[in-house]
């Protein structure tokens, strides 16, 4: 009868140890699964976060570029005429050339009209007088050249101011885009790297759970073996 009790008791002990070990293994495996799932979750949320940042960053770049491009468009029409005025004034002043073209003809025309009008018109019947009058008209036109160059330089100054505005607009535009990209990159990096401690923790948690499962299994085996060893001792020991 005592042997039966020992067998029963040993069986119950071993069974209980194995059952507990299984439950502990299952718990540890559950923790491991949860840790893996969570790591995937965290990685996915990190990807989603940095995708959001990237998308909004692209929109921010477009918005900044659009503001810069429109601002440029508003000021650009002043630049080219200013450049032309500066080039012409520069060339005219350095070469000492007189006014040419339509303005020269306009001024000379005024001088010749005055000569052709009463009471001087009769004088122009003489060819030498006519030639002298033409020469005088040229001289008059030449006399207004410095004043005209000043007008050109004033236009060049206006163009230069616009060019300065556009240059600053462009510089700010480039800076702004650079800032957006670098800040976006920093945020994306933070979104990704910020998860690392969490991922590491989860990975180590999963590893610990795995170890615990192993230990639980070993302990369960040891307890079962101990029970069986006890039983063997009882049965095979001296009567």
């Amino acid at each position: 009868m005592a042997t039966g009790a020992a067998i029963f008791s040993a069986a119950v002990g071993a069974g209980s140890a194995v059952d507990q070990s299984n439950k502990q293994s299952a718990a540890a495996a559950g923790m491991q699964r949860a840790a893996i799932e969570n790591a995937q979750q965290l990685a996915a949320s990190g990807n989603a976060a940095q995708t959001s940042i990237l998308r909004q960053q692209n929109k921010a770049i477009r918005s900044a570029a659009s503001g810069t491009a429109r601002a440029e468009d508003l000021m650009s029409p002043f630049i080219k005429p200013g450049e032309t005025a500066f080039r012409q004034a520069n060339r005219g002043i350095l070469s000492g050339a007189d006014i040419r073209g339509p303005l020269a003809r306009y001024i000379k025309g005024g001088a010749m009209d005055a000569a052709n009008s009463a009471p001087f018109a009769e004088l122009l019947n003489s060819q030498p007088v006519q030639n002298a009058a033409r020469g005088q008209a040229n001289i008059i036109k030449s006399g207004f050249t410095p004043a005209f160059r000043q007008q050109q330089l004033a236009a060049a100054q206006g163009g230069l101011a616009a060019a300065g505005d556009v240059a600053r607009i462009q510089q700010r535009g480039f800076d702004r885009i650079g800032d957006i990209v670098s800040s976006g990159a920093s945020q994306r990096a933070s979104a990704l790297i910020g998860q690392t401690p969490g991922l590491v923790q989860l990975a180590s948690g999963a590893e610990e759970a795995k170890l615990l499962a192993g230990i639980a299994g070993q302990q369960g085996n040891a307890a079962a073996i101990e029970s069986l060893a006890g039983l063997a001792g009882t049965l095979m020991g001296p009567k």
């Binding site: 009868m1 009790a5 020992a6 029963f8 040993a10 119950v12 002990g13 069974g15 209980s16 059952d19 439950k23 559950g30 949860a34 969570n38 979750q41 996915a44 949320s45 990807n47 989603a48 995708t51 940042i53 990237l54 998308r55 960053q57 921010a60 770049i61 477009r62 918005s63 570029a65 659009s66 503001g67 429109r70 601002a71 440029e72 508003l74 005025a85 073209g101 339509p102 306009y106 001024i107 005024g110 001088a111 010749m112 005055a114 000569a115 008209a137 008059i140 007008q151 236009a155 505005d165 607009i169 702004r176 976006g184 945020q187 979104a191 969490g198 060893a229 039983l231 001792g233 020991g237």
Partner: protein
């Protein structure tokens, strides 16, 4: 095409990450619509409607993103986050869209006020008169210089005065008189030309100034839009990341609870079994202790770990 125009088209080509990440992202994390209004996950529950508040102010009425309708109780954390995440992201996007619209509206209204002062005709005529747009345009502009009746009369009288002076000094038929007349004629033309340029200058300057102001406003509008978008990106990212934390915690808690429950059950069962074993031991133990004592006297001491019948 300028650099910034090329950026506008380039930005469209930057690949998004959704193709890479879509399969790996839990549906509740990518619920709602993307920034273009398309559903990120077509299988996700449709986002609930967010009612707009009518807000009346001195600047007019605004439809601000208002209370969120249709927020229901959740039966699980997943469900709660699945429901709330798209609502939160939509609310953020609506807030950003509202900020952008308001900024745009403010810009439009301000531009409307300034636009009336932006007349490029004066600048164009000035440029043409200076010969900056070519000889033909300069000729045309000079021909079209308006001369008022007053100026025409003034010039006529100047010429008359000159002629009278020449007559008085006896220079009327002389070369000197002719030269004086020619000088006056040329000067009058250049004066007409200069007066026209001077007349146009305040108009052109106003146009330049208004354009400079408008350029500043355009730039500020673009920068503001960029700021709103950058902020939105950060906030959306926070929501995406923030949604993961409670889920992770809940998952771990659930796993831990479920494991502990299993272990506790097992321990309970073990205790019951152990009690049963004890009971069985008592029940089946022999009732003659002498036999055991007799056995014990002839036996070596029982080693530890062995079952010792007799209740010792």
């Amino acid at each position: 095409m300028g650099f910034f125009d090329s950026v506008l088209s380039f930005a469209e080509d930057i690949p998004y990450f959704e193709d890479v990440t879509a399969s790996g992202i839990s549906p509740f994390l990518v619920g709602g619509n993307d920034e273009d209004g398309n559903p990120i996950n077509p299988y996700a529950p449709p986002p609930q409607k967010i009612r707009n508040n009518k807000l009346k102010t001195d600047l007019g009425a605004f439809n601000t993103p208002g209370e969120v309708s249709g927020v229901q109780g959740a039966y699980s954390l997943d469900n709660l986050i699945r429901t709330r995440t798209p609502l939160a992201t939509d609310l953020l996007k609506q807030g950003a869209a509202f900020a952008e619209d308001t900024s745009r509206q403010g810009f439009r209204e301000a531009r409307g006020l300034l636009r009336g002062f932006d007349r490029p005709d004066a600048t164009r005529e000035q440029n043409a008169l200076l010969g900056l747009l070519g000889a033909d345009r300069q000729q045309q502009a000079i021909n079209n210089i308006p001369v008022s009746e007053f100026d025409a009369e003034l010039q006529r009288r100047q010429r008359e005065t000159l002629a009278r002076g020449a007559a008085a000094t006896g220079d009327l038929g002389s070369g000197f008189g002719l030269q004086q007349a020619q000088n006056l004629g040329g000067a009058q033309r250049f004066e007409t030309y200069q007066n026209r340029l001077a007349e146009l200058e305040p108009l052109a300057a106003t146009s330049r100034s208004v354009r400079s102001t408008l350029a500043g406003m355009e730039e500020a509008r673009g920068a503001r839009g960029a700021q709103i978008r950058t902020g939105l990106g950060t906030q959306l990212a926070n929501i995406r990341l923030g949604a993961a934390a409670p889920i992770i915690q809940a998952n771990m808690q659930q796993a831990s609870l479920s494991g502990l429950q299993g272990i506790a059950q097992s321990q309970q069962q073990g205790q019951v079994a152990s009690q049963l074993a004890g009971l069985a031991g008592q029940f089946f133990t022999p009732s003659t202790p002498q036999t055991v004592q007799t056995v014990q006297t002839t036996q070596p001491p029982v080693s530890a770990g062995k079952i010792t019948p007799g209740g010792y």
